[in-house]
């Protein structure tokens, strides 16, 4: 199919900033080709630790509380494997990234989807979690800013979840890979809430904010017990994250912020443009506060989200993802990524308008 515009891709359209790429090349030239420590290069763990003190005023010991992983994907997998006993239940607000439930199942756990509501801008509340709580509930797995909805949780929203976790003695896995891509206010780190550091397994990485998806580099932060257990799995299955990617990640944390901020500013403009576009098309959407997705409601078209996505690609050559790919509660929505150029977003909106007028 020719001239397809994809709003389906979940990765930045930017290339990793040159200074970051160059530091990796320089490392290779100097012969950095070995394994690193299982937990990751000390330099990188130190930078991560400093970053969290600077940004969120929460301190992690680089020797015992930080594990560098092969992307957040690995971190998520081994976090779940480290904490779950067979039959343990994990509360997972939905719609959500598709791996959450799959990895829980792989780890021998039982994923318990908890639908988040559009009326609440896809935030999750303790009242919504409560009915799904059982004696087997071990953890809550949240990902804000959210893929696919673009929802964010503000400090008071997170505090309620923190209180709920505290009352019911639950572990919180917080996937904050989109944290730097927060456009309304600042990103609140779950582990920085009072008393939450020990209870939280914080997952983050470089893929989205620094346009480093292909480098496969992420990290997990948590108390020494859980990070120790995760390190055991990591050392037997992965040994260590690639040294080349770790060198690049060090540079990203040391000097990458200005490039990252430029990309964030660009995403923000696209976000407003696409939000405005869908509003004008009469497709309801709340204004996404983070990540690079918008999750408009398509029920006015009279189609299901799968039909909408399929008809749109066939007739207008615009690709997007049906909301049901992210759980049942995504029904009636589609996920559009705005990690693509302004011209393409404008063109895609025109095509969607054409599509809608033909429908009626």
């Amino acid at each position: 199919m020719q001239d397809v515009i994809s709003l389906g891709v979940g990765e930045p359209d930017f290339v990793t900033p040159w200074s970051i790429r160059e530091s990796c090349v320089y490392g290779l030239e100097r012969g950095y080709t070995s394994y690193t420590a299982n937990r990751g290069m000390p330099e990188l763990r130190n930078e991560i630790s400093r970053h969290f003190v600077r940004r969120h005023e929460v301190e992690y010991n680089p020797d015992t509380e930080i594990l560098v992983t092969v992307g957040v994907s690995e971190a998520l997998d081994i976090a779940l494997r480290a904490i779950i006993n067979p039959g343990d239940e994990v509360l997972i607000p939905e719609p959500c990234y598709v791996s959450y439930q799959a990895c829980t199942t792989f780890a021998g756990g039982v994923p318990v989807p908890v639908p988040a509501k559009i009326e609440n801008e896809f935030r999750i509340t303790p009242e919504e979690l409560q009915p799904f709580l059982t004696t087997k509930t071990k953890a809550i797995l949240i990902g804000y800013p959210n893929n696919p909805t673009g929802a964010i949780m503000e400090r008071e929203d997170l505090q309620k979840i923190a209180d709920f976790a505290e009352q019911n003695d639950l572990i919180v896995i917080s996937d904050e890979i989109y944290g730097d891509l927060t456009y309304k206010g600042v990103h609140e780190c779950f582990a920085a809430l009072p008393k939450m550091k020990d209870r939280t397994i914080l997952l983050n990485g470089f893929s989205k904010a620094y346009a480093m998806t292909g480098w496969r580099i992420g990290y997990a932060l948590g108390n020494p017990d859980v990070i120790g257990a995760m390190t055991k799995i990591h050392q037997y299955t992965m040994l260590c994250a690639p040294i080349t990617a770790q060198l690049a990640a060090v540079e990203a944390l040391r000097h990458g912020e200005k490039y990252m901020k430029k990309m964030v500013a660009e995403y923000d403009r696209r976000r407003k443009l696409i939000y405005d576009g869908f509003k004008k098309l009469g497709m309801d959407s709340f204004e996404p506060g983070g990540a690079f997705y918008i999750f408009p409601n398509i029920t006015s078209s009279g189609l299901t989200s799968e039909e909408f996505a399929e008809k749109l690609i066939m007739s207008e050559h615009v690709a997007l993802v049906p909301g049901t790919a992210f759980g049942k509660s995504g029904a009636g929505h589609v996920r559009c990524s705005y990690a693509t150029g302004i011209e393409k977003i404008s063109e895609a909106l025109k095509r969607i308008e054409h599509f809608l007028t033909k429908l009626h």
């Binding site: 990765e11 290339v15 500013a265 407003k272 302004i342």
Partner: protein, 159 residues
């Protein structure tokens, strides 16, 4: 204001409506703001960056370093003005270092440019020395890479 400039600097042809949506302002506000920026000469012009090599036009670009004897009262400005008034002169900068003015000239041939430098620039009163460098190839201009535009290498991946 800074954001409008950032957007326009990247694409001067973008519509007012798109800028308004991106900044969550009304079109009226954006239009007024742009008019003000133009009036205050913060926006000087809307240019098009052309890759003349692909056009097949033979254009020679030369960078000329010029040394000057500054003049009483006006310093370098009066001579700079004499130089930038020529249509052939595209760019003039006052520099620190080994020379005073950096002048960029475009012409049809090496001969035309050297003739221009020898007869029109070097002869201006106060110009003590000129050194011409001819440009062989442009790799990047005003933040835009001329060739090898990085293509979209993203592949299909799930999830």
């Amino acid at each position: 204001m800074k954001e409008i400039l950032e957007i326009l600097e990247k694409n001067a042809r973008i519509s007012i409506g798109e800028i308004a949506a991106m900044l969550q302002k009304s079109e009226y506000e954006i239009e007024n703001e742009i008019r003000r920026l133009e009036k205050e000469k913060i926006i000087l012009s809307y240019n098009t960056l052309i890759n003349r090599e692909l056009l097949g036009e033979d254009i020679v670009t030369a960078i000329i370093e010029i040394n000057l004897t500054p003049q009483r009262e006006v310093g370098f400005d009066a001579i700079a003005e004499k130089i930038y008034r020529f249509d052939e002169v595209r760019t003039v900068y006052l520099m620190s270092g080994n020379f005073d003015l950096l002048v960029i000239i475009e012409g049809k041939s090496l001969k035309e440019i050297s003739h221009f430098v020898a007869t029109r620039l070097a002869t201006i009163e106060g110009v003590t020395q000129t050194r011409s460098h001819f440009m062989l190839k442009a790799y990047k201009k005003d933040g835009i890479t001329i060739e090898n535009e990085e293509e979209d290498r993203r592949q299909v991946i799930s999830p």
